[in-house]
Symmetry: C2
Subunit: 173 residues, 2 copies
DNA sequence: TATTGTTATACTCTATAACTATA
DNA sequence: TATAGTTATAGAGTATAACAATA
């Protein structure tokens, strides 16, 4: 298809607005000197960039086990809290309960997790790792540690510790 | 459905290292006593929880202007770098160029952004804010600051400053 | 040949609403 | 009535691949 923004006024990039403080004059390719303006003052922007980097590394590092971050967190919490209900797991991890259903479906299909009938409430399921799930989790944890070492290598050990402390404070009050 | 009820051994075991501490004041209450295991040692987990909280507050605070975080970042960077190419913008913000097309489509439809012909490279577009876009950005910045104050209130001013410093180091260092 | 913007597809994740079976 | 799990849908966001125009 042809350019969909058809006409495109050919007013070259000549400076018009009062809002732009920076060059555009310098011949258009501002390779790395792009001004982020107020973004660097927003925790949300920096946190997003951090998550992007971290999750990509996690997925790459655990690709051989085909485990993604959300699945890792689910297996970890079930492993530590056998018999947990889905609702409790969902709100603990900040995952929508509707989404957790699909995560558990996949983990159950892979034979890593079991939904058992709850003794006390027949509406709910008690979540357990299978023997295979426990073995898998052990292998996962090796690679997850390796991944975290990549993060440490990226930010430095001291900064990593500081970030864990500060973000924990943030996340849990 | 499933086999019998679990042995239901003590599901708690919450003595381990810095698991879950307190319920969350502003919104979701984490079920107390659920052991997060190694998750609290993973920056990725904490960063995700932080982003969840921050983005939800941003979206809520700027709902009246119908501006989401990605759109805010795009408008901000164009405002500061008039004439920027789409590729440069995309790689600056860590947005896929294919996704940026849709973001710009929407902002252009709303009359906030213009794609102009580049003087030097006829493949590329020079991005500019319209007058309306500049006015809108000014209003957006007021609410974005308000949002950031919510974040400060959540973590404390000192911690907020520390986090900005450490995460900037992470994202760009 | 490589790059820019575009279109297209697939998959992950978030956010709701509604349904069922229990409580 | 309310809650736990499920199903369904819509919309962001990420990740690729391919294509036309241009470099």
């Amino acid at each position: 298809m042809s350019p969909r923004t058809a006409p495109l006024t050919r007013t070259a990039a000549l400076e018009v607005d009062g809002g732009s403080r920076r060059a555009d004059a310098a011949g258009e390719d501002l390779p790395r000197g792009v001004d982020l303006g107020g973004l660097t003052g927003h925790l949300g922007y920096l946190v997003r960039r951090a998550q992007l980097w971290i999750f990509q590394d996690f997925i790459r590092t655990l690709a051989i086990l085909d485990i993604r971050p959300a699945e890792y967190s689910v297996l970890t919490v079930i492993g530590r809290n056998a018999g947990l209900k889905q609702m409790a797991l969902a709100s603990t991890l900040g995952i929508e309960r509707a989404r957790l259903v699909h995560l558990l479906d996949r983990l159950e299909r892979r034979g890593l997790v079991q939904r058992r009938a709850s003794a006390t409430d027949r509406r709910s399921h008690a979540l357990h790792l299978t023997a295979k799930g426990r073995k898998m989790l052990a292998r996962i944890e090796v690679l997850a540690s390796e991944h975290e070492q990549h993060v440490v290598a990226r930010v430095g050990g001291e900064h990593h510790k500081e970030l864990l402390r500060l973000l924990a404070l943030f996340a849990f009050g």
